[in-house]
């Protein structure tokens, strides 16, 4: 499979390079759907310019990247395009190899569990690796051409997934720590990582077992240790803790209400002052809140749990962009065998397509033509998020249904022998 992969990589790099050279690059770099105040390239350049002027980039409210990004781009700012293309390539390759490894394990497991009443497993062989959809997804291409640092975040998350699936605890903890350091939300990926690694090392997931707690302690120690090291390194870059409120305080308290494809901006633009803190806490807790229930339900399927967590983060985070959506959409082909159980594919795909095309139109009408107002753009945001939620819950339903069939058989019959229908009760 190496030849198709390299062919695909070459094609993807060509598309991106062509777009970088065209005049569309500047246009795309300004679009609010693709860049957000935390990921915009213009702000990275501004931060570096402030550093050149002798002013700390965190003394103003324009730069919200972590100090490691300053470290990185201080040296490679002239090669920014290559850096972002490389990040995309790393993400794709890491995901490809991770899924290949995962497939091997899945096949092995199912060979052992081959008993009677299994429905045809050849569906599993039709799994395509996520490389194609990630590299050729228009969202990813837009994100790369805009030089949004979301691409770098995605690369780190992909490396984390790869090292988790390979079973390397230390690397998994380090990459997860890097991802959390960049934006706080990947913290929820701790649970699936731990579950997967425990599964791989045959540690039973049981609260009463000492080995369970011992493993958790180990993983958390590695994770927190690397986080501590990173935070100290960031302190020594500029010699102050200014970056903490600028980066993490910004992500959590959402002071900047620039429109994006998420739910936060208009909500907090129209919020009554009295309730602002309350709803801020509610919305932020909403992202972290599904971790434990999902982990309990999906403790035997940690990779699907990773997918669910990524999707929840991308939909409910404070400043989402299309780059975040591209990351979890990259996983959809891994579950392509669930296709027969999906119920809303037509609706969801139509809505997503329509919304993606309506975003720039209604933005233009609001900001440039002045004939629409912010409600139009907000409505499309709502629709887009509903479609995403529908997509994710659809896949969840299909996954659970497939698990049910695997245990109880595909063709179910009622007591009187007629064809049965399954419902959730």
């Amino acid at each position: 499979m190496a030849a198709p992969l390299t062919l695909l990589l070459v094609l993807a790099v060509t598309i991106r390079a062509a777009l970088f050279r065209s005049s569309l690059a500047e246009l795309i770099a300004e679009r609010v759907e693709v860049v957000s105040p935390i990921t915009a390239w213009k702000r990275v350049v501004e931060g570096l310019a402030l550093l050149d002027l002798g002013v700390s980039p965190y003394s103003g409210d324009v730069f919200h990247e972590t100090p490691l990004i300053i470290y990185l781009f201080h040296f490679v700012v002239d090669y920014a395009e290559i850096t972002f293309m490389l990040a995309d390539v790393i993400t794709a390759v890491a995901l490809y190899m991770a899924v290949k490894d995962y497939n091997k394990q899945v096949f092995r497991k199912q060979k052992f569990a081959l008993e009677a009443d299994r429905y045809p497993l050849d569906c599993l062989e039709l799994i395509r690796s996520p490389k194609e959809i990630y590299l050729l997804n228009p969202f990813t291409i837009l994100s790369c051409v805009a030089k949004s640092t979301c691409g770098l975040n995605n690369a780190v998350v992909a490396l984390f997934i790869f090292s988790t699936i390979k079973g390397n605890t230390l690397l998994s903890a380090i990459f997860l720590c890097l991802a959390t350091y960049q934006s706080i939300y990947p913290l929820t990926l701790c649970a699936p990582a731990m579950l997967y690694l425990m599964q791989r090392q045959y540690i039973p997931v049981n609260f009463r077992r000492a080995s369970f707690w011992w493993f958790i302690a180990q993983y958390l120690f590695m994770y927190l240790g690397s986080l501590f090291v990173l935070i100290c390194l960031s302190f020594f870059l500029l010699g102050s803790w200014d970056y903490m409120p600028s980066v993490y305080g910004f992500i959590l308290s959402v002071p900047d209400l620039t429109p994006n494809i998420g739910l936060f901006w208009y909500f907090f633009a129209e919020m009554f002052e009295h309730f602002r803190l309350f709803f801020l806490c509610v919305f932020q807790i909403n992202v972290f809140f599904y971790t434990i229930p999902l982990s309990v339900k999906l403790k035997e399927h940690p990779v699907f749990l990773i997918f669910m967590q990524l999707a929840v983060i991308s939909i409910f985070k404070s400043y989402p962009t299309v780059g975040d959506i591209a990351l979890y959409m990259a996983f959809l082909p891994v579950w392509s065998h669930l296709y027969r159980f999906l119920r809303n594919t037509f609706l969801v795909s139509c809505v997503l397509l329509a919304c993606s095309t309506l975003f720039p139109v209604l933005w233009h009408l609001w900001i440039y033509a002045g004939s629409a107002n912010s409600n139009f753009y907000y409505a499309i945001t709502l629709l887009f998020n509903v479609a995403q939620i529908l997509l994710v819950s659809d896949y969840f339903y299909a996954f659970l249904r497939r698990e049910h069939h695997l245990t109880y058989g595909l063709y179910l019959k009622r007591k009187d022998g007629s064809e049965a229908t399954l419902v959730l009760k």
């Binding site: 620039t258 909500f267 129209e270 939620i389």
Partner: protein, 567 residues
């Protein structure tokens, strides 16, 4: 004050207690402008040799207004400059003003070194001044206050260089009206009852192209050795009457036409009360009556001007009719004005409500000299400047500023501050551009008329401009050789401060009628997510049994009650 002055006209014997030495002077300068408009500038100066600091309570106020004296001592003010302006000064048509001021309200204060919490003192000071001048200076807060590092040096004595004690704020939206003029007039020793202040009638003063009233307080040296210092209070009022609006199109001005009053006496408390008419262009351009023999020459803004002086303390100025009504009649409209050497413009470029660009143009009209200017820009936080897009070009080429001080803004806390030292090449236009992004504010942060736009205060351009007239490279006068080598005449450079126009910028607005709807709709979407995930997490798949018909269900209920197995 007036009654006390009458009593003091009697000869005084030796007083047991030493009187504080204070002195009041009033002056009016009238300058006919080439466009047919007329520029009148009032200055009222009170000098008082006293010490507000060092804790000694000053309680005997005579000429100095008590409210301002208390402000100085309570807030440990070293210098205070406040101005209220209606209209924009058109430099290219009117020349340079004697005292420049930006549209709206402007306040800048130097505090004494003894102040520990400058920000708290500033806040209290603005609120107290807001009460004294009946203006909404209470809108000055940390979001429009800056600490310039180079543009506003102290104008009085004092060699302080620590800019922590300086605060500068403008309110470009502030409107000036009679309500602000009345308390300003009350601060004068004679009020508006005697002297030049009787001319200050609001119905004529506000019917003008430009109106600016200001108060400047600073410590000055009393003698040339500076052994004693005194406090100087200057109240200035600049007004430009329009040829067509107030002058009815006739190029003929008189005190009565301008102010609807004539002068009858000087202020008895004033040690000097004079009117100066700028007659440098007389008699070719206009004629002046009643004539006066008093003449005075002064170097003003790099130009030697001649003035006719009317001394109001002399009784014969008022003539037999006991009133003075100066008449200025234009004879011809030819002749050109001395072109001002430094001039600036500013505008917003771009389209749409997402981004924009601020362009500042600075014109240097000197034929052969370049000089540096300090540009101070204070932009509110909701226009996010990108300093890496700052470009300075002169004559099409890049002109790198030699000093840039930039303090980025913090959302809802402080504005941007950009100060640059730019060298302007001779006879050129220098363009400074910087890109910005417009922020979406919370719905409560918009003014009641959000589509009017948001004001950005004027840029301040300060410079020492070399004068063309005083610079005489081939000296034709008779002078000894030892003094004529270096090209230096009486005033070869003069300080000029130019204010640009304020900007009006539109921001994208949310829909103000929608808060409840938005909260409901967004919470619905979140609930949809929550609901679907909750369903899938808490329920499991079961085979659906078809529910029996109604009759069968009732029968089953009865059978259950009887204890019989159901159908």
């Amino acid at each position: 004050h007036y009654a006390a002055a009458q009593k003091q006209a009697e000869p005084a014997v030796l007083q047991p207690t030493p009187q504080p030495k204070d002195d009041f002077q009033e002056e009016l300068v009238v300058r006919p402008l080439h466009s047919g408009d007329i520029y009148a500038s009032f200055q009222f100066r009170t000098l008082w040799e006293t010490d507000f600091m060092r804790g000694n309570k000053v309680s005997h106020y005579r000429l100095f207004p008590k409210s301002l004296g208390q402000v100085i001592s309570k807030f440990s003010v070293r210098e205070l400059h406040i101005s209220f302006t209606q209209g924009y000064w058109r430099t290219m048509q009117w020349g340079q003003p004697y005292l420049p001021s930006p549209p709206g309200a402007e306040l800048w204060v130097w505090f004494q070194d003894s102040v520990t919490d400058v920000d708290a003192t500033w806040k209290e000071l603005t609120n107290v001044l807001s009460g004294i001048f009946c203006a909404s200076l209470n809108f000055i807060d940390s979001t429009n206050t800056v600490q310039p590092s180079a543009s506003f040096k102290p104008l009085g004595i004092g060699n302080v260089t620590d800019h922590r004690f300086l605060r500068y704020a403008t309110l470009p939206r502030e409107i000036v009206c009679t309500e602000n003029l009345t308390p300003w007039k009350k601060l004068l020793p004679c009020g508006s009852k005697a002297g030049l202040a009787v001319l200050l009638k609001s119905e004529k003063l506000f019917h003008s192209s430009f109106h600016s009233q200001a108060v400047h307080i600073r410590p000055v040296c009393q003698d040339w050795q500076c052994k004693t210092t005194s406090w100087e209070l200057r109240q200035t009022l600049n007004v430009v009457f329009d040829l067509h609006n107030s002058g009815q199109g006739k190029r003929e001005w008189s005190l009565f036409k301008m102010f609807s009053r004539t002068l009858t006496e000087a202020c008895p408390l004033a040690s000097s009360s004079k009117i100066y008419i700028d007659i440098t262009d007389n008699p070719e351009q206009f004629e002046l009556s009643p004539a006066t023999s008093l003449l005075s020459q002064a170097m003003v803004l790099g130009d030697r001007r001649t003035f006719s002086v009317y001394d109001l303390t002399q009784q014969d100025t008022f003539g037999s009719v006991r009133s003075l009504n100066l008449l200025i009649r234009w004879k011809s409209t030819e002749g050109d004005m001395l072109r001002p050497l430094l001039h600036a413009e500013r505008y917003v470029a771009g389209y749409g409500l997402q981004t924009g660009e601020i362009h500042t143009l600075m014109y240097n009209h000197h034929p052969y000299r370049s000089f540096p200017v300090l540009l101070l820009d204070s932009v509110p936080w909701y226009l996010r400047l990108y300093i890496h897009t700052l470009t300075v070009t002169s004559k099409g080429k890049d002109n790198k500023p030699s000093y840039i001080h930039y303090q980025p803004s913090k959302d809802r806390v402080r504005p941007h501050l950009l100060e640059m030292l730019v060298q302007l090449p001779p006879n050129s236009v220098t363009e400074v551009t910087v890109q910005f992004e417009r922020a979406l504010l919370k719905w409560t942060e918009y003014t009641p008329d959000p589509n009017h736009g948001f004001y950005v205060g004027s840029s301040v351009i300060s410079s020492l401009v070399p004068s063309t007239v005083a610079m005489d490279t081939n000296s034709t006068r008779e002078r000894p050789l030892f003094s004529s080598f270096f090209p230096c005449k009486e005033e070869s450079s003069y300080f000029v401060r130019v204010y640009t126009e304020p900007l009006l910028v539109n921001l994208p607005t949310p829909d103000f009628s929608m808060p409840y709807n938005v909260i409901c709709l967004t919470c619905t979407v979140v609930a949809v997510g929550y609901g679907s995930l909750y369903n899938l997490l808490t329920r499991s798949f079961q085979i659906e049994e078809p529910s029996p018909g109604l009759a069968k269900r009732i029968a089953n209920v009865i059978r259950k009650m009887r204890g019989v197995p159901p159908l």
